[in-house]
Subunit: 233 residues, 2 copies
């Protein structure tokens, strides 16, 4: 590929986006990070994203504040209780209350604007459809539909600079993601996953996200660097 | 249709969105307005949208601030000069510099989140493809692609409450829009169109948007209530 080809990478501070970032850089992309502050309870995520961005020496890293709390409707942006200790079967049975309406649509729309303005054609998003925890906007058919729309709705698209939504993790399990990232030198100590951390930032160990993370490290046979709350199983 | 069916209407303060709002209400929808503050030079637009929303007695009217200036690249959000006195042919020849990267994609994404959170399935946007002034994200194929994506990426969509992007103006000329709105009782005095108003809020009369507006009123055979700057032709 061309030297210095630009990509926008959505960076949340979690395992998946951090791995997607490492993959984009391994592919030779010059990475422009994009992180959202969207009223999520875990401000820790944003701090994690900043640390990860600095460690990865991004070409640029933009923080965009968007007020999703006015839309309500999610345990991640309001006071609703985060569900705990659910089996993977339970997680998959329905769209979880941690679903934020149209979140990835909004995130990708900003990434699209950012990509157009810097002349990038590639947008990386660390979604995966295996351990995807029931979110409709993490499915391959959604991503393909977004890409089709992006190429019809932008100057870049209609002028022939085809926008591509890159989802290198989409068919990978959490364990495969962690192994692949570790092979690329990712230090997951910087990442955060918990939906319900305590005041000191320690993970609860019991929300869907913690459970999927723990299972991932266990299946990958790698040490989980997460600091869990005392008493967390 | 059902009594009290909810719709989200994107309301910019211009002729098109104001007419789309009147049409949604005429169809019996309970309207939830959504207006964006996105660093546009014409803060007048937002004031116009507020006046129009109050006059229309909306069920709710949300103002969402999004920082598009960080993306640069448009005469509407930066210091680039707004082109003046262009023919319609010139306007159509290329995507204008007043194009804001991915603007309608971002606007519709927020409308989608708002619609999901209030249980609405219909989103009205006043785009039109006739006097559309060269924007890729005003074309029918973009709207259809957005709708397809929206139904794959939301809980509403996958649970069978089909999201519909309503574009009642898409095949109408500006003159037809103004006639239709006038028939529904719209008072266009409240609306604003100019890309480059002066400090007193008077329209320049020469930017693409003013030219299309003036032509619309002229062709509709209706009085243009716009206050133009002294010396504007």
């Amino acid at each position: 590929m061309e030297q210095g080809k630009k990509a926008v990478v959505l960076l949340s501070g979690g395992i998946d986006s951090t791995t997607a970032l490492a993959m984009a850089q391994a592919d030779g992309y010059q990475v422009y990070g994009l992180t959202f502050l969207y009223g999520q309870r875990q401000g820790l995520e944003v701090e994690a994203a900043k640390r990860i961005g600095r460690a990865a020496k991004l070409a640029d890293h933009r923080m965009v504040e968007i007020d999703l709390t006015i839309f309500g409707g999610s345990a991640l942006t309001s006071d609703m209780a985060v569900p705990k200790r659910r089996s993977l079967e339970e997680m998959r049975r329905q769209v979880p209350i941690t679903y934020v309406p149209a979140r990835n649509t909004i995130f990708l729309s900003f990434a699209l604007a950012f990509a157009e303005s810097i002349g990038a054609a590639d947008i990386f998003i660390g979604v995966n459809a295996i351990d995807y925890s029931g979110y409709p906007d993490c499915r391959p058919e959604f991503i393909r539909a977004f890409e089709a729309m992006a190429n019809l709705g932008t100057k870049a698209g209609i002028e022939g600079r085809r926008i591509k939504i890159r989802t290198p993790l989409i068919e990978m399990s959490k364990a495969q993601i962690i192994r692949a990232g570790t092979a690329l030198g990712v230090n997951y100590t910087h990442t955060t996953s918990c939906y319900d951390p305590d005041d000191e930032g320690l993970a609860c160990g019991a929300c869907d996200s913690c459970l999927i993370r723990k299972k991932g490290f266990a299946e990958a046979g790698l040490n989980d660097p997460t600091r869990y709350q005392e008493g967390a199983e």
